[in-house]
C-alpha cells in the first residue's frame, strides 16, 4: 500500500505510541486526583503541554487540550463571539476555511452575527486588500487558516496578524494542517488563538489543543469539572495528551529536514504529473504550500472514479476533504480559487509524509497516468472535446 492521504490523517509514529503505552493499563490514574499515583500522570500531562507550547513559542499555561481540531475551532470561534459581543458581532474569515470554521460561522450567523467571507486569489491566497477593507469598528474576530487542507496554500499570517492588531481584533488561526509541519511562532505572527489536532502530525486521533494568548478572554466550551483551569471540563485524556506531546517533540526535532525532504518529493511529483499528463493543472500556490501537499485537476474525469481505481492499485488518496466524501458538491475550496464545477469535480489530492519515498511517488505517477487515460477513454466530455478539436482542425 502507498498511503498518500496524510492530510486526512497520519500514522501514529512508533515512538509516539511507545510514549503513550504506559498510560493505558499502568499509569492510568485520573491526574486530578490527590495521591502520588496521579501525580505521575499529571507530570506527563504538563510535560506534554510544554512540548506543545515550545513548538509555537507559547507558554504552557496558554495551551488547553481538546478532543481535536474541530473542537478547537468551534471553541475559539464561538467563545470569541460570545466574549466580545459587547464590542460587536462581526466576524471575518476566508472562503476556503475548513468546515469546522465555516459551519461554525454559519451557525453564528443564525445567532445574529454577521460574517464576511473574504475571497482568495487563484492560488488560494487570501486577498489582503479585501480583508483590510472588510474590517469594521464592530469586527471582533478574524479567523483565517494557517494552511489549507485541500490545496496546501500557506496564508500570509504575519500580515493578517498585523491587520488584526491594528484593529484591536482577535486573530484565530486554524493551524490543523500547519502545526508540526511548518514553523509557526505565535508572537511573530501576532496570533491570539491557534487550533491544532494530534493526528495530523503522527500523534493520536481524538486529541488536539487550543492555544489562547495570555490575557485573551475565553469562555468554557465544555462546562463541568475544574480541569484545564476550569475552561474545558472532562477527565484528561492522558494517553492522548502524552501522545500529542510526543508527536510535537518529534516534529520539532525533525521539522527542517522533513520540510526539505518532502518539498523535494512534492516538487518531483508535481513536475512529473504536469509534464506527463495532458490537461492537468496544479491547484494551490506553486511554492507557498505545505511541504507534503500536491493537488491536481485532471480535465474530463471525475475524482471518485479516480480514487477507487487508485485504491484498486493499492494507492490511498483523496479528492476534496475526507469528511465531505460522499457529498455531491465539489470542493468549496476549488470553486473559491475559480475553477468551474466540472473541473473541480476531477481533483486529486496526494499528501506525503516523512515515510513517503521517491519510489512511491514515481509508481503513483505511473498509475495515475494510466487511470486518467482510461477514465478519459470512457468520458463523454473528453469525446466532445476531441470531436470539437478535430472539427476545428478540419475547418482550419
Amino acid at each position: 500500500m502507498i498511503y498518500l492521504d496524510n492530510a486526512a490523517t497520519t500514522k501514529v509514529s512508533e515512538e509516539v505510541f511507545e510514549a503513550m503505552k504506559p498510560y493505558f493499563c499502568e499509569q492510568y490514574a485520573n491526574p486530578s486526583a490527590i495521591y502520588s499515583f496521579a501525580g505521575k500522570a499529571m507530570k506527563a500531562v504538563e510535560e506534554s503541554r510544554k512540548s506543545i507550547a515550545d513548538l509555537i513559542g507559547a507558554q504552557s499555561n496558554e495551551i488547553y487540550f481538546t478532543a481535536g481540531g474541530s473542537e478547537s475551532d468551534n471553541w475559539a470561534v464561538k467563545s470569541a463571539a460570545e466574549c466580545c459581543k459587547a464590542k460587536g458581532k462581526h466576524i471575518i474569515t476566508s472562503t476556503i476555511e475548513h468546515h469546522a470554521v465555516l459551519h461554525t460561522c454559519q451557525y453564528l450567523e443564525k445567532q445574529g452575527y454577521e460574517v464576511t467571507y473574504v475571497n482568495v486569489d487563484e492560488h488560494g491566497v487570501i486577498r489582503l486588500d479585501e480583508l483590510e477593507a472588510a474590517i469594521r469598528p464592530d469586527t471582533i474576530l478574524i479567523t483565517v487558516m494557517a494552511a489549507n487542507n485541500e490545496i496546501g496554500t500557506i496564508q500570509p499570517l504575519k500580515e493578517i496578524g498585523a491587520l488584526a492588531k491594528k484593529g484591536g481584533i482577535l486573530f484565530h488561526t486554524d493551524a490543523v494542517q500547519a502545526y508540526g509541519h511548518i514553523p509557526l511562532d505565535v508572537d511573530e505572527l501576532g496570533i491570539d488563538m491557534l487550533s491544532a489536532s494530534g493526528h495530523k502530525f503522527h500523534g493520536p486521533k481524538g486529541i488536539g489543543f487550543l492555544y489562547v494568548r495570555k490575557g485573551v478572554r475565553i469562555g468554557s466550551f465544555v462546562h463541568g469539572g475544574a480541569q484545564e483551569r476550569s475552561r474545558r471540563a472532562g477527565t484528561l485524556n492522558v494517553p492522548g495528551i502524552v501522545g500529542i506531546g510526543a508527536a510535537a517533540c518529534r516534529a520539532a526535532a525533525s521539522m527542517q529536514e522533513r520540510q526539505e525532504r518532502e518539498t523535494a518529493l512534492r516538487d518531483h511529483l508535481i513536475r512529473r504529473v504536469l509534464a506527463e499528463i495532458p490537461f492537468s493543472r496544479l491547484n494551490g500556490h506553486g511554492t507557498d504550500r505545505l511541504p507534503g501537499n500536491a493537488n491536481f485537476c485532471f480535465r474530463f474525469i471525475e475524482g471518485e472514479s479516480l480514487l477507487i481505481l487508485l485504491d484498486q492499485q493499492g494507492i490511498c488518496a483523496s479528492s476534496g476533504s475526507a469528511c465531505t466524501s460522499g457529498s455531491l458538491d465539489p470542493s468549496h475550496v476549488l470553486l473559491a480559487i475559480g475553477l468551474p464545477h466540472e473541473i473541480a469535480h476531477g481533483s486529486l489530492r496526494l499528501t506525503l509524509s516523512e515515510e513517503t519515498t521517491m519510489e512511491d511517488i514515481d509508481h503513483t505517477v505511473d498509475v495515475v497516468k494510466k487511470i486518467v487515460e482510461r477514465l478519459r477513454s470512457m468520458s463523454p466530455l473528453y469525446e466532445d472535446f476531441i470531436r470539437q478539436n478535430r472539427k476545428k482542425d478540419e475547418e482550419a
Binding site: F300, G326, H341
Partner: protein
C-alpha cells in the same frame, strides 16, 4: 460502501464506447453535478436493441449504473427497454448507497433520452416515453 456487483461493473464496465451512426443517442446529467451519461443504441428494424454503448463522466456508481443499464437493455425491444427503471438497475446492482441513488435515475434518463432520439429520427412515437 459499494456492493460487489457495483464494484465489478465499475472496475470492468460492460459496453463502454461509442456506436458510429447510432439509431439513437442521448446525453443526460451535467458536469456541474458531477455526472454525465451518454448512451448509444443500435436498434434493428424490429425495434430490438442490438447494441448499447455508453460513456460516462462520474463517480463509481455512475459508471456502474451506466454499465448495468446497457446490459439490461441489450437484446430487448424498445418497449421492454422502457421498463428498465432506476429501481431495476439498482436491484440488478444489489443496491446503491443512499447518496448515490440519483445515479440510477440518471441511467434511466439516459435510456429514455437515447430512445427519444431514436423516435425523433424515425418520426415515431413510443407510448409512455416523454421528452427527456
Amino acid at each position: 460502501m459499494y456492493s460487489e456487483k457495483v464494484m465489478d461493473h465499475f472496475s470492468n464496465p460492460r459496453n463502454v464506447g461509442e456506436i458510429e451512426n447510432p439509431s439513437g443517442v442521448g446525453t443526460v446529467g451535467n458536469a456541474k453535478c458531477g455526472d454525465i451519461m451518454r448512451m448509444y443504441l443500435d436498434i434493428d428494424e424490429n425495434g430490438v436493441i442490438q447494441e448499447a454503448k455508453f460513456k460516462t463522466f462520474g463517480c463509481g456508481a455512475a459508471v456502474a449504473t451506466s454499465s448495468m443499464a446497457t446490459e439490461l437493455v441489450k437484446g430487448r425491444t424498445v418497449r421492454q427497454a422502457l421498463e428498465v427503471t432506476n429501481k431495476a438497475v439498482m436491484e440488478a446492482l444489489d443496491g446503491l448507497p443512499p447518496e448515490k441513488v440519483h445515479c440510477s435515475l440518471l441511467a434511466e434518463e439516459a435510456i429514455h433520452a437515447a430512445l427519444w432520439d431514436y423516435a425523433e429520427k424515425n418520426h415515431i412515437t413510443i407510448d409512455g416515453l416523454e421528452k427527456p
